[in-house]
Structures are given as structure tokens and as C-alpha cells.
Symmetry: C2
Subunit: 260 residues, 2 copies
DNA sequence: AACATCGTTCGACAATGCCGACGCTGCTTT
DNA sequence: AAAGCAGCGTCGGCATTGTCGAACGATGTT
């Protein structure tokens, strides 16, 4: 694995730093954080600025991400085949279920949301496209870790934060559940990331049956889960599971996956 | 302006090529298009891939944009101050007017949409955030060219396609209208880009009164424009103009612009 | 089966980007 | 006010680093 272009690696590190860090960063901040000489960091930043990947506040001289990234990110979505095929089915799933639908792909140590259909009511919602969700505590993530060895490897490396009392962080428990997920073909996460929210997810495969992403339905536990006679929250509703699995199958078929 | 990092410039060119080109491109396509040796192009692509900026189809070996761009693009939005301040006001404007609202900033030779509020009805709409609109034939673009000298300079360089019979492409006419726009403080574009669609836009300024963006309302001419007694389409509705200008003023004030 | 094409690897050369020290400007301090 | 202090930007020498072109192996085409 020889020969990575140094200046490119550093430029990428700078972009990630700007993306993660607070608001804007000065030249010295950047140089310090990455252990570069100021002159070096400046050269990279100047080029990035010239190309539109970073912008510089005229007053303070501080740097932040540039607009070109937004444009390219949009282009990524335009080209994304999985997303294109899934648009209609995700929409149908949201309409039929009345809940939010996410479409995600594995990216580094998390699930990148590439499509988001709003819950079909009028409440205000924030578009999550482009944001990341954890691997260990969401339906999307669980599906991917269960079926994609790469995802499982990334999960091992990640830190598995406990978001709620229901979050499972123990690797053995996660692996056991992954086996069950492979068996039955779908995953659920009830209040494991956000309190009061449950999600159901299923796998999307391409024409060679490789896992390429997952589709999931998100909603309040009161609607997504069954309630026992004692009023307790039970497992997720079987009819919603069927809907999600059908959507996943339909998208996979659109991608050329064999018909089973 | 000495000292731009060559490999970075080339990497940026490759990304733009992948963003503009059709679907996926092979290594030779990329190398040819940019006049690079195959080995050189490969080195850059390998690094870009390692960093997540491009992905490679395992079968065909062809390259396409990578997911990291989507994530960074999202981060750009998160950091964007103008957008953050404008969210509420844009929402109000859409609700009050019942029409689509765009928020745009100058980027290269066009207007980059950084926020998009759907028309508040249930029809299916495509999110335009991250896409570009022309400078010469939209309300957003006209506002920016009228108030931002940089935008006007970019306009001169751009090619000004005639999208409809109403599109104005002559520079003198555009300049004359720009003067009028500066005078009255708002711009309109009626069927100049899309047939049947009219838009009204106004300028957003920062604390030092620099033009930093524009907000516009988009809708069908039947609703956005007045109709004369003979049923002909007239100028845009004055009440909508007032709403748009008030929204722009409110956002500018949030950014720290003086209160007039 | 021979050919063409494509992505990838490799080694040599020198161009290129890296580094550290030095201006410069704007702001706070004494 | 003068001095000090950060902060960004620039410059030139050095060697590291990226570039180039040719050759390789795999794939699929004629």
C-alpha cells in the first residue's frame, strides 16, 4: 500500500478538522492541531480556498469550510445509484407507515444517511441527509453490522457510547443479536439511541447480493411498538416489519438483486 | 499569486470532473480529460479514495464521488452562520406566503442554494439545497449581481443561457435592471428560467452591510403575479414583495446589520 | 486465440512542496 | 504613545515527494 500523496492527506485532515472543530479556526490552530509548520498549513489552505473548499473570514482571517463541498456533496447524491433507485420505495414506505424513513450506507465508523423521508404530517423536522448515526444502537447500524463484515470490524474499533439505559455496548451481546438479525432478516432498536424512539431496519443488497445499505423506519415507541395488555411497551409491530422488509426487497430488486 | 499546490489543484479538478461527468469514469477517462499520465491520476485517485472523497466500483474499477463529500457538505451547512440565522425567517416567509422559499449565496458563476423551505402543501418536491441557479435569470441571482460587484463580474464571464422566451441575456439590459433593483431594493424574475414560475428576491447583508446572500420566494405566476382585468399576467404582487423584503431585513438584522 | 483495453505497479529523475525564519499588520498592555 | 504580542502571510534553500513513462497482469472483445 505504498504511495499516498502527502499533501492530499494533509488537506483532507484539514477539511475534517474544520468539519469537526468549532466554527472557524485560525491558521495557527490548524497548524498546531496537525503538527504542521505554519507555512505548510498556509499553502494547503490557500489552495483549498482557491478551489472553494474552504473560505476565509476577511476580518478575522479564520478559515471555515467552503461552499464547493456542499455542491460536490449534492453531486454525490445525484450520482448515487442506491439512492436513486430507493427514492420511490422509501416514499411509499413513509406514506404507508406514517413514519420517518431513513436510507443509510456504511461510512467509516457509522451509518451515513443518504436519504430521509419526512414523517407525513406537518410537524417541523430537520433533514438528516449527510449526518451520521451510530452502528451499535440504531436499526440501520445493526443491519449493516450483521451483514457487512467491514461494518462489524469498524464497530469493534468504535467506542460504542451508551446513549440511553437501553443501549447495548457489550460486544458479545451485539454479536449474538447480529446472529439473530441474520437469521430473521431484520433489526430493531427500541430506545437505544434516543429515548422514546424505535426503529426497524432491513438490508439492501446489490446484484451480487453484497450489502450496500439499509432502509429503516423511525418513530415513537407508542406507535412503532406493540403495547401489552398491561400497557407495557412490547416488541415492534409485525406489520411494520413486513413493510420495511418489503421495501428493502423492492429496492434490492431494483438494483438487480436476484428475485430469491 | 505564487505557490498553489499542484497535486491539490489536480485533485480538485478530478472531483469536479467526477461531479460534472456522467455517472462513473474510468482511470483513463480521468487521465485523458485532464491531460495527466495514468500513473499520476492513479496516485491522486488512490489517495482520494483512501480519504473517502471518491469511491471505486469493485467490478468495473470505475471511480465516482465518495460519501465523505456528503458529510463535509453537511458540516458546511452546520457551520454556515447565514443559514442558521435565516432558518426561522425563511420558514415564516414560506408559511405566510404559501410558496417555496430559497436562500442562496454567490458561488463561482451562480447562486448556491443553502436552504430550501418546501411549499407548505403535500405535493412532492425535490430538495434543492446544494444545487446551483443561474445569476442572470433568477431573483436570487439578480439581487446578488445588483449588489455584489463580484457577482456582477462573474455574470459578465458566464454564458447566460436563454432558458425561456423571457430570459434576458443582453448585458446592457441586465445592468439597467440592476440599477433599478438597487434603487427599489428587490428583484423579480417572471418566467425567465422556468416557464410558469415567478420569483421575488431581496438582499441579505451582514453587520458591515456587505451583501452575503439573498432570500427569494418562488411560485407559479398565477399566484405570485397580479392578473390584469384582461386576464393577462401583470407584475408581481406587492404584498409578497413586502413579505420578502421584511424577511431579508429580519435576517440581516440577525446577522448584526444596522437597523437602518 | 490473438488482440485491445484497462487498472495498477515500479523506478528514476527533478520539480515540487515542505520547513523555519523573517516581515507585516492590528490589537492589547504598560 | 511606545512597546509588546499574536496573528497571518511570504520567501528561499533543501530534500523530500510527486510526477512521468514504460511495463505488468487481468479482463473481456474481435
Amino acid at each position: 500500500m505504498a504511495g499516498s500523496i502527502q499533501s492530499l492527506e494533509r488537506a483532507a485532515a484539514i477539511l475534517r478538522l474544520l468539519a469537526g472543530g468549532e466554527r472557524r479556526l485560525g491558521l495557527s490552530d490548524v497548524a498546531n492541531a496537525l503538527g504542521l509548520a505554519k507555512g505548510t498549513a498556509h499553502g494547503i489552505l490557500r489552495t483549498l480556498q482557491q478551489e472553494g473548499f474552504v473560505e476565509q473570514d476577511p476580518d478575522s482571517g479564520k478559515y471555515q469550510l467552503g461552499a464547493e463541498l456542499l455542491r460536490l456533496g449534492q453531486s454525490y447524491l445525484d450520482v448515487h445509484e442506491l439512492r436513486a433507485r430507493a427514492l420511490v420505495w422509501a416514499d411509499d414506505l413513509a406514506r404507508a407507515s406514517g413514519e420517518t424513513v431513513y436510507l443509510g450506507v456504511l461510512h467509516q465508523r457509522g451509518v451515513l444517511i443518504v436519504h430521509h423521508v419526512f414523517r407525513p404530517d406537518d410537524t417541523r423536522q430537520v433533514l438528516e441527509v449527510g449526518s451520521m448515526q451510530p452502528l451499535h444502537s440504531t436499526a440501520l447500524g445493526k443491519v449493516l453490522t450483521a451483514f457487512d463484515p467491514v461494518a462489524r470490524a469498524e464497530l469493534v474499533e468504535s467506542e460504542r457510547e451508551a446513549f440511553t439505559a437501553h443501549t447495548v455496548t457489550d460486544l458479545d451481546v451485539i454479536d449474538a443479536e447480529a446472529a439473530a438479525i441474520r437469521e430473521r432478516g431484520w433489526a430493531a432498536a427500541v430506545e437505544e439511541t434516543w429515548a422514546g424512539v424505535a426503529s426497524i431496519g432491513a438490508l439492501i443488497q446489490d446484484r451480487r447480493r453484497n450489502p450496500v445499505g439499509a432502509v429503516a423506519l423511525n418513530g415513537p415507541v407508542e406507535r412503532v411498538c406493540t403495547t401489552g395488555p398491561d400497557g407495557r411497551i412490547g416488541p415492534v409491530r409485525p406489520d411494520l416489519v413486513v413493510s420495511v422488509r418489503e421495501a428493502a426487497r423492492a429496492i434490492s430488486r431494483d438494483l438487480g438483486a436476484p428475485r430469491f
